[in-house]
């Protein structure tokens, strides 16, 4: 599996498509619906060709009806399908939140375990493309706050493919958050089937001096920052939790135990974000091990502005991450 011969270098969009395709071939109960996912292949190309391959019954273009897209997904999941539905922008999960949070997350529990809801809700979030405030949010913290859900937020092709496959096979409802600025990002993905475990973090870069936890596109900023810092003699460990609910605190705590310094980086706002949870848990559970208080780096606390100079100022970049690390270690 780790034989480099057996790798394909593909984009994040292709990785997602590969996962969908493989799972649809494997299990005919897997069906897709969402806006423009058919002929169009999804506005970011994540479903290109799937309608041609699997037909209009299994790959369905829907009306602009976010509530029904998710609500129908819940209903269909109760009766044996395994729907993977797409909400075109994460912001519009605000229209579909009832289905995700009140229905999918709770139906199994409320029924005393009679039902399960094997539903995956895919949705791209994130800024950096000039789509402004209503098409750029990162709302992972909303869903991570809700028991009954699994929340994945990942931006690397291999992780996306392996975790989406796991999400589809899982009997719990999964909110699978993608990043719209990453669909053309390339990475190596095994040719062979690979199903990655939900709830397991991945150490993207081992290091000794500081633990940087970062997910979704902020991971890329964290990795560049780590490179930059390396040239200054700072050896950063970069951890991608990948799943935000459940969260693999074991891996994070073990790392902090080694580096004794923590920086949490997210594109989402730090305030009341998943990064607050990580910072708090590390402090609460590894208080004595930290040499310095943790730092969080996130988008500034404003709606995302359109214009480039403002937008790139709001979203954290490698420089801001590196700066935070330097400040922490100084």
């Amino acid at each position: 599996m780790s034989d480099p011969q057996a790798m394909r270098n593909i984009t994040y969009a292709q990785a997602i498509r590969t996962a969908l395709r493989e799972e649809m071939k494997r299990d005919e109960r897997v069906v897709l619906w969402g806006e423009d996912i058919g002929v169009y292949g999804g506005v970011y190309g994540a479903t290109t060709g799937l309608q041609r391959e699997f037909g209009t019954e299994r790959v369905r273009d829907t009306p602009i009806s976010e509530m029904a897209i998710v609500g129908m997904g819940v209903g269909a999941a109760l009766l044996g399908l395994r729907p993977v539905v797409e909400i075109m922008y994460e912001d519009f999960l605000a229209h579909a939140a009832d289905g995700v949070v009140n229905q999918a997350a709770k139906w199994g529990y409320m029924s005393g375990g009679q039902y399960r809801v094997p539903l995956v809700v895919r949705s791209p979030g994130g800024g950096g493309s000039g789509y402004a405030a209503q098409h750029s949010q990162n709302l992972e913290a909303w869903f991570a706050h809700i028991p009954g859900l699994i929340v994945v937020a990942t931006c690397m092709p291999r992780d996306a493919r392996g975790l989406l496959k796991a999400a589809i096979r899982d009997d719990n409802p999964v909110v699978f958050l993608e990043h719209k600025g990453h669909y053309t990002y390339k990475g190596d993905v095994p040719r062979d089937e690979e199903v990655l475990p939900l709830g397991k973090a991945d150490i993207k870069r081992p290091g000794r001096d500081v633990t940087i936890v970062a997910w979704s596109k902020a991971l890329v900023a964290a990795l560049s920052a780590a490179d930059e810092l390396a040239s200054e003699g700072i050896d950063a460990e970069v951890i991608d939790p990948r799943t935000l609910l459940p969260l693999d605190m074991d891996t994070i705590l073990a790392s902090v135990g080694r580096t004794r310094h923590l920086v949490v980086v997210s594109e989402s706002h730090a305030y009341c974000g998943v990064s607050a949870e990580i910072s708090a848990q590390v402090c609460e559970r590894a208080f004595g091990e930290l040499k310095r208080p943790p730092k969080r780096v996130g988008s500034h606390f404003v709606p995302l502005p359109y214009s480039e100079p403002m937008e790139s100022y709001v979203i954290p970049d490698a420089a801001r991450v590196a700066e935070a690390v330097r400040g922490l270690l100084a």
Partner: protein, 336 residues
């Protein structure tokens, strides 16, 4: 020999009485005795819709309902003891005490559950119907809701999709004239003809007397068969009335007591059967009395058993938020 129709009417009568007496137990015994929590939404007065529609469903069919769903569940065969126990919060309840009055469900009976979030059952019904169709079943999904639900966005999105994709759903609207305190014409444009909202989607919309169980049954049969055979959804609006408060804590000051009394005298769906049976002298009235006695005994026995059932232990709360059997799910970091 009595005709099938008479047998059917008697079966409907029994079905309606089962709901009525079940819910009267909630109102008359459990409420004063503080035997349940939150609030319970009774369908007293609306039993003909429950029995008429549900009787028209076949074994392969499903139903999903609202906060006011005891009747639909009982008509579909839900175990009365399990229902009582659930409402009492006992571990033997149909949802092991986790759901309560607003969340009864029974997978093995094709009861998807009660969904008290108004409107949200409609897309779920459509999705369930799609699942049935795609898996080769000829099942139909009946989706019950009150007239208040027709103004939710979820309802509209679901009806459009059901019509568009030819899904086997019957949307059953019980127009009991109030959504909590809000009369239908205070909430709905064109309140006198809400069934015509169906027209915009190109599906059939009907308005039917929901107090006449036979009419309810007949139109439901037709709609269910249409859904089953042609994949055409329908929108059935049954005129009905609830003779009790919105829930067990309702002061009901938004409607005159007279109105309730008058409706009760004129339109009680259970009296309706008794009257038509009596008028036509088709069965001996003692038979009705016998049925009533049997149902009362059934209800009393189920209630007594439920009342003796054990409580869940507090820690039972912690199980069931996740299905943990799935191969790939490693649960190490679940928050406490």
């Amino acid at each position: 020999m009595r005709s099938d129709r008479v047998e059917q009417l008697l079966a409907f009568y029994r079905g309606m009485l089962r709901i009525r007496l079940f819910e009267e137990k909630i109102l008359d015994v459990m409420l004063p005795g503080r035997m349940f929590r939150g609030s319970s939404h009774l369908s007293i007065g609306q039993e003909a819709v429950a029995v008429g529609v549900v009787s028209a469903l076949g074994p392969q069919d499903y139903l999903i309902t609202s906060h006011r769903g005891h009747g639909h569940c009982l008509a579909r065969g839900m175990d009365m003891e399990g229902a009582f126990a659930e409402i009492m919060g006992r571990s033997t309840g149909v949802c092991a005490g986790k759901g309560g009055s607003m969340h009864l469900s029974a997978r093995d009976l094709g009861i998807l559950g009660e969904n008290p979030v108004v409107g949200s059952s409609a897309p779920m019904a459509a999705g369930a119907a799609l699942a049935l169709r795609m898996q080769g079943s000829h099942g139909v999904v009946a989706c019950f809701f009150g007239e208040g639900a027709i103004n939710t966005g979820a309802f509209h999105e679901a009806v459009n999709l059901a019509a568009l994709w030819s899904l086997p759903v019957v949307f059953v609207c019980e127009n009991n004239r109030y959504a909590i305190s809000v009369p239908v014409d205070v909430a709905s444009a064109r309140a006198k003809a809400i069934h015509e909202r169906a027209l915009g989607y190109g599906i059939e919309g009907h308005r039917i007397d929901g107090m006449n169980v036979l009419d309810v049954y007949d139109i439901s049969m037709a709609a269910i068969e249409k859904a089953r055979r042609e994949g055409r959804p329908s929108f059935l609006v049954f005129d009905t009335y609830r003779f009790v408060g919105h829930h067990t804590a309702d002061s009901e000051h938004y409607r005159p007591k007279d109105e309730v009394l008058q409706e009760f005298r004129a339109h009680d769906p259970i009296h309706f059967v008794e009257r038509s049976v009596a008028d036509d002298c088709i069965v001996d009235m003692t038979e009705l009395v016998r049925i009533r006695d049997e149902v009362r005994a059934e209800v009393d026995a189920a209630f007594a058993r439920a009342l003796g059932a054990p409580w869940p232990s507090p820690e039972d709360a912690l199980g069931g938020a996740y299905v943990e059997t799935s191969a790939s799910f490693t649960c190490t970091g679940l928050p406490g």
